[in-house]
């Protein structure tokens, strides 16, 4: 009987750990251990008669397309591109919530075998799968991000974000607006895009206000909303009156910021809808690089290039929340910082 009991305990913990681990599986993105769901992206408002001849684009991503973060940023970008190029809605397909890498690999292979022209593997954890799949489909172009490596494959583009740049600008703004001189950051896992953003934010805050204390907490989870909420509570208890954070779970932290009247600085997607305490957000505009990628495909180049979105090429923009009454001097400070990063006079330390 005892062995039976402990086998149940082991099973329970195994499932709990698997579920938790899946939530933390992504090294640079937000994740959600959810059931797979395939949906057509909205957009591509004009359905042309030549739909069958138009480009077909597929996205495989680890979290929800409405996560106000990583996945939403690429889906929004594909929709922009579709509208620009008149790509009909039926030629765009998104498979979200692919926290499981094996499931993602199956989806990537499926899209390639269906003849999609561009298959976007939106998650750094998909690199290993892509290395196996892409050589089997030499006529299909793959885009993989965030990553700075095409794996030496001629039909793979890589893309990443210089998220430290936007982080730096937002850090400068936070340092200018804080009255307590204590700023809190809620991060997921200290790797990849999240670490780059957090490091940039801290550098910007410290550069603009040497008296400011910036405290960073990594919850070690991309998906634990409750823990992000409590991390924000801890920051508030420690005196923070301005906070930032990255990844899908930050909605919990923003909720605390709303309750406590603490300023919030967002990243990856525009988070202004979460409340008027959101001062500004760094937003990824992946369409900047998608345009180049599609132009390359039109010219017969299916991969081999590495792209970076940043403030200079417009792939990253700072979007201010109209509902927040931002002082003109801080707005100007942000604009000057953006200009300084673009012209190279300001280094983010990244």
């Amino acid at each position: 009987m005892r062995s039976k009991k402990w086998s149940w305990v082991a099973l329970v913990f195994a499932v709990a750990l698997i579920a938790a681990a899946c939530g933390d599986d992504d090294s640079s993105t937000t994740t959600s251990p959810d059931a797979p769901a395939t949906t057509a992206a909205s957009g591509g408002t004009e359905t042309t008669a030549a739909a069958a001849e138009a480009l077909r684009i597929a996205v495989v991503s680890p979290s929800s397309e409405t996560d106000l973060a990583f996945t939403q940023s690429i889906v929004d970008a594909v929709n922009v591109i579709a509208a620009e190029r008149g790509i009909p809605e039926e030629n765009i397909d998104v498979t979200e919530n692919m926290f499981n890498i094996d499931d993602a690999a199956a989806a990537l292979r499926d899209y390639a075998s269906q003849g999609f022209d561009l298959v976007i593997a939106h998650g750094s954890q998909y690199g290993g799968s892509l290395e196996e799949i892409a050589p089997d489909f030499p006529d299909v172009s793959f885009a993989w991000g965030t990553a700075a490596d095409t794996k030496g494959l001629d039909n793979v583009f890589a893309y990443e974000a210089a998220s430290d740049e936007g982080g730096y600008v937002l850090g400068v703004m936070a340092a200018a607006l804080t009255e307590s001189n204590i700023i809190g950051v809620v991060g997921p896992i200290e790797v990849g895009d999240a670490k780059l953003y957090v490091d940039g934010f801290v550098a910007g805050a410290e550069a603009n206000n040497s008296g400011a204390t910036v405290r960073v907490v990594y919850t070690d989870s991309f998906s634990d909303v409750a823990l992000a909420s409590e991390a924000a509570q801890a920051h508030v208890a420690a005196g923070a009156d301005a906070m930032s954070g990255t990844a899908q779970m930050v909605v919990g932290a923003v909720s605390v910021a709303n309750d406590e009247g603490v300023l919030w600085f967002g990243t990856q997607a525009n988070q202004s809808s979460l409340g008027d305490i959101v001062v500004a957000s760094q937003v990824y505009k992946w369409e900047v690089i998608l345009r180049d990628i599609l132009d390359n495909i039109d010219n017969g180049v299916l991969g081999g290039e590495i792209y970076v979105v940043d403030l200079e090429n417009g792939g990253e923009v700072i979007e201010f929340n109209d509902a927040y009454d931002l002082p003109a001097d801080v707005r100007q400070l942000a604009e000057d910082t953006i200009a300084g990063i673009i012209d190279g006079s300001i280094s983010t330390g990244g």
């Binding site: 329970v12 959810d34 998906s223 909605v251 909720s255």
Partner: protein, 310 residues
């Protein structure tokens, strides 16, 4: 480290531990009823997720947190009944059927969120209730008596559950069905009826736990529970199938999580050790499980379907 031993930080840390413990406490109390009668329901997390979405969506549409709580109760009852049908009447293997309920809840809550809401949108939260007289006690008042109403209700369920299980006829039937269903059946106790009731209680409290989590956070996101339902099941073992033990386990898990977060915030735990510190709640709970639960015997008929005459 000296920053930690200030009134504000200590109060915040303990209060955080209590908040983190509440969904676990509600779900594990419910699961205690089921397990004491011999039914293991691994679908707790799925029911929590459905309760969380139902509660969230109801508050989003009505603005009334109590309607949200009622929605969580309704969903919990519904899926408790469904779980009972599968495990008790249809005699399905409890572990596998529970995983099925979990996966259904995971996928369905995600799908409904995507189709009905789309983008995370803030909602109202439970109102806070300062307990007169107690909330003014230095230190302790802020830690334990300045919470939302649902926190007090959750902890009030502990003595109530203890009373029901140990002091009532229904509780005696639960225990007898969990220990020796054949003997209980021979004495005229409806084994299936008792198990239907306990599994439904478990489902109800799981739904309440989910709704409480969503409404207390004021937001919903896919997989909001982040496997808390499975932790709750483990805490039933930790608590040796007793409500008071379950409460202590939930508080331990919540407090360790809160302590680690606060120490990381104050940089007492350096960022380099963040990953190791994050494992502390699970490791401590597992160690406690090993030490505590081995001293107690689980309900003899746990996980065993009952069929008269077999």
């Amino acid at each position: 480290m000296s920053d930690f031993f200030t009134e504000a930080i200590l109060i915040a840390t303990f209060a955080s531990g209590v908040r983190l413990a509440v969904p676990l406490l509600l779900a594990s109390l419910g699961e205690t009823f089921g397990q004491r009668s011999g039914v293991l329901n691994l679908g707790v997390d799925g029911i929590m997720l459905l309760g969380a979405f139902g509660g969230y969506y109801t508050v989003l549409k009505t603005g009334n947190v109590w309607y949200g709580l009622i929605a969580g109760i309704g969903i919990g009852v519904l899926f408790g009944l469904l779980s009972a049908l599968i495990s008790v009447t249809l005699l399905a293997e409890q572990g596998i059927s529970g995983i099925g309920v979990y996966l259904f809840g995971l996928g369905m809550s995600d799908l409904l969120f995507l189709k009905l809401v789309g983008t995370p949108t803030p909602i109202s939260k439970f109102p806070k209730l300062d307990i007169p007289g107690l909330s003014d006690i230095p230190w302790l008042g802020g830690m334990f008596f300045q919470h939302s109403v649902i926190v007090y209700l959750a902890f009030a369920l502990v003595p109530l559950s203890t009373f029901v299980i140990n002091r009532t006829t229904f509780g005696m039937r639960i225990r007898s069905v969990g220990e020796n269903p054949e003997a209980a059946d021979s004495l005229g106790v409806s084994v299936a009826g008792v198990r239907w009731a306990t599994v439904t209680i478990g489902g109800t409290l799981a739904g309440v736990a989910g709704a409480t989590l969503a409404i207390d956070l004021g937001i919903f996101q896919q997989n909001l529970t982040n496997a808390q339902g499975f932790i709750a099941i483990a805490l039933v073992y930790f608590g040796a199938w007793r409500p008071i033990g379950v409460m202590l386990g939930s508080l331990l898990y919540g407090f360790v999580n809160a302590l680690v977060l606060q120490l990381k915030t104050l940089e007492v735990i350096p960022p380099d050790l963040s990953n190791f510190a994050a494992m502390a709640p699970a490791i401590i709970t597992i160690l406690a499980l090993v030490i505590v639960a081995r001293r107690f015997r689980q309900p003899t008929a746990l996980t065993k379907p009952f069929t008269r005459g077999t």
